[in-house]
């Protein structure tokens, strides 16, 4: 079977027993993939979320600010656990890396942690950021570490990788998303996951302070695009 046929076949397989999600910040899962994850979990998937940092360098402290630089990590840890509960994620791993510093971390240490998770869990699907097209340096560095580590596995042992991308130039470089998940049936879980991040979601560029109508929620949050990573 040709590599692209193999990928297409795996892509059609909508049921995944075991999924590994790797993002750097609490709330990345909420905005990028919470509906999709709730949908997979509803079909019986076991999801492990490896969250690399506690987002302790985040700028949003709530409106008005109820967190400070020193209290933010503990607060975001609780927010992350609440978000995972809302989605139904069964297994949350907080890996303890420092926010904003992923690209400067010891690459070997980072890759070893990811490899250990792959070996322990043998996921059929991994969800992460598309390296180079995910805006925040931590996003790009996380995606790069996941791709680098999975790339070391023999081709036949590699899980399917669905990447999130949102840089302003991304479609010119990597085309349109090949996987667009309709999550309208899971918007309750998704919005609960987003709102669990109490210090974050009121920021104007995220959800904002206004109550959204159901129609606005469907338009803004009803689909989640992913790009299947091609290793060849």
């Amino acid at each position: 079977m040709k590599a692209e046929d193999y990928t297409a076949m795996k892509n059609q397989q909508t049921e995944h027993q075991r999924i590994l999600v790797v993002f750097p910040h609490p709330d990345d899962e909420a905005f990028a993939a919470s509906g999709t994850l709730a949908k997979y979990i509803d079909s019986g998937a076991q999801v492990t979320y490896a969250c690399l940092t506690l987002g302790e360098m985040g700028r949003n402290m709530g409106i008005p600010p109820f967190a400070s630089r020193v209290t933010l990590p503990a607060i975001r840890k609780e927010e992350l656990a609440a978000s995972c509960l809302a989605i139904g994620i069964q297994d949350l791993r907080m890996l303890g890396f420092h926010d904003k510093m992923i690209e400067f971390e010891d690459q070997q240490r980072l890759d070893n942690e990811i490899m250990a998770l792959l070996q322990e869990l043998s996921p059929s699907l991994v969800i992460t950021f598309y390296p180079g097209y995910s805006v925040h340096p931590d996003h790009d560095a996380t995606g790069a570490a996941v791709i680098r580590t999975i790339g070391r596995l023999p081709a036949a042992e590699r899980p399917l990788v669905h990447c999130v991308a949102f840089a302003s130039n991304h479609e010119r470089a990597i085309g349109k998303a090949d996987m667009i998940v309709d999550v309208t049936a899971f918007l309750e879980e998704k919005m609960a996951s987003i709102r669990a991040h109490r210090t974050q979601f009121q920021a104007a560029e995220l959800v904002g302070n206004q109550e959204l109508t159901d129609e606005e929620i469907r338009t803004r949050f009803g689909t989640e695009p992913f790009w299947t990573y091609r290793f060849d």
Binding site: M57, G58, R59, N60, M61, G62, I63, P64, P65, F66, A67, S68, R69, V70, T71, K100, V135, H136, P137, D138, A167, S168, Q202, A203, A204, E205
Partner: protein
Amino acid sequence: MQPITPEDIQIRIDQLAGQNLYVHLELTTGAYASHLDSTRHPASAFISNAAVRYTQGSISGTGPYRVGLKTTQGWVYAEGLTHVDETEKERLILAGHDSQGKLIVALQLSRETF
């Protein structure tokens, strides 16, 4: 966090003078600055747990406030400070929040590492 009352901050600055401290100093536009507005130049810097000792320090301005600390070999300076973590009694946790409520500057002093 509560809005800064400069008189209270001055007392705290005086209480921490002449001791071996750790400083966290940060200025940030955020990693999304140019993604959200391409005319903006993203810039950030932070230093955490740098050892520092100052002989005199003060808060200045009418808000947002400035703080300058004269150290044994130089200066520590922050502008744009608006808020203080009022629950912290030992450490001094100052931050500046912009019109959207986002942290843009932080100056923190502590006898223990952060």
